[in-house]
Subunit: 351 residues, 2 copies
Amino acid sequence: MDLETVRTVSTASVRVAVDAMGGDYAPLEIVTGTLSWARAHPTDKVLLVGIPERIAEVAGGSLPPNVEIVPASQVVEMDESPALALKAKKDSSIMVAMDLLKQGRADALVTAGHSGAGMAAAVLKLGRLPGVDRPALAVQMVTETGPFVLLDIGANMDSSGHNLYQFAHMGSLYAERVLGVEKPRIGLLSIGEERGKGDLAVQQATQLIDDDGSLNFIGNVEGRDLVKHMADVAVCDAMVGNVTMKFFEGLAGFIFNLWEKEFRGSIRGKLAYLLMRPSIGRIRTLFDYEKMGASPLLGVKGMVLITHGSAKRRMIEFGVEAGATAARARIPELIADAFRGQSRHPAKQVE
Amino acid sequence: MDLETVRTVSTASVRVAVDAMGGDYAPLEIVTGTLSWARAHPTDKVLLVGIPERIAEVAGGSLPPNVEIVPASQVVEMDESPALALKAKKDSSIMVAMDLLKQGRADALVTAGHSGAGMAAAVLKLGRLPGVDRPALAVQMVTETGPFVLLDIGANMDSSGHNLYQFAHMGSLYAERVLGVEKPRIGLLSIGEERGKGDLAVQQATQLIDDDGSLNFIGNVEGRDLVKHMADVAVCDAMVGNVTMKFFEGLAGFIFNLWEKEFRGSIRGKLAYLLMRPSIGRIRTLFDYEKMGASPLLGVKGMVLITHGSAKRRMIEFGVEAGATAARARIPELIADAFRGQSRHPAKQVE
């Protein structure tokens, strides 16, 4: 599919399947957020997957015409082993939702459930796209000048240089088509800025991306470069990506709490707070992680997005929107096109 | 050496060698910071290693009686390859300073120079302690309730589970003796909180630390747990540690800049700034990274500490203090004792 076709379809209506039973606040927050999105997007469709009575109960009254409940009798709980749960619970909401994607009845799937189970179900039910060795979970992170994409944040352990090379391609497509960045700058997240400095996987990935030549590769980026928006896509092993993403969450929250305590702790602070209210609003908006919506799992045969287990209605709404946007951009099809003809362990390629 | 002995020697005077020529602001800032420390610690001794005329020039006037200049005619520049530079420059300040440690003329060495060259010189000149497979570079990071130790942040690439296991022991000793934490809580920095969840190295390290049983092991910690001070020692591969540390630097700076811009951007902001001045001071103090001083390289036969290439006099002063503290605590000797009898690839041990 070429760029023109994509642009043509980019306003097409889409059907998003939502796992209504997954997440700490399911089904109430999931259903509420999803319905809110559905009402705002009457030409799109939503499939709420789960136990019908429980969904109806929290939906409260009649559903909008573009919302359909798809029954699933089981739920994968947050503390279950993904492998065992998926085997034992064929009629779980996540498995039924994956079936909708597989059958072409949905264009994207959003889940706040057990993320390990979500990723395992995607690989199991949908499978990897031809040429893709491993899928990668990506996340959008904030900077003052716009978001960047960080991947892998948790789909794989011990990724090879070849895996990182493929993540770079998938991340580049995602940044281009979903974030709207022309020629996204691709960086390998590593320990030093010199090209190729890092562990074996980074060295190999550098070689592969260099040989390939089709990406806008800027070499290595360091941890401190991320917030400076030096790359549009930062590629790394999941250990690095996951720790970085969660450290961001923790540190940003920590710093805000410090300020809040100071604002609340004295009369001077309270007065300063009143004066700074618009500023605080601006800063909060920038760090509004609920807006990230959901993380796309790139490289499987279908558009699967995984959001926070603790997501509430507002984040779910952004998550369904992220799913719809990625579906409209036809990300899996684009990745399939890019990887067509890739052998499992090529030295180069991707024309 | 037992705890009592250590406590007895812990106020002993020490001799700290400082690489006067290494760092972006050498020799001026290095010498100035070092002299300031020396004046405040008249019973300790400082050896300033470098080109005597250049040191004398920036020292300005007579040196304190506890400061000695040790001549070295060469300098390893920041952009040189460590391996080549160390081979070609036998009389470089970093190599001469290492010699002082090796000959027992100094108890610790502090350098702001090329960190790769510093680590390479340490391994080359001093060698690893018996039983230690790889040294690890550690750093102290801040939380609201006190510092924790993060390692490895850059001494090795592709560390194995056995390496992480050894880092855990070295980090534990450092936290106990330098930070004064009793039974430091040791965590493996990983992708999920379930024990053993992570890559192969984390799984193997979990097994080794469990089998060993001598550490206060709390299992995995995640990125968001770090700022909550859930571990006193967070152990990880250098890719994870280095990116985390530098991301911290970048993110903390980014958030402060946002606030500063808001404080400066309007009359309201300026007024709020005046009201919040004591608060801002408190928060700045907490994030005062210059106080971290210098990062200890654990596992080599001598107390080597590496500080920021961009360190100025104040950070150098804290760096020399960190060196003196680690020397007083006799960290290399403690590690040697702990690893005595360890084979290169033991399944367990360290009594």
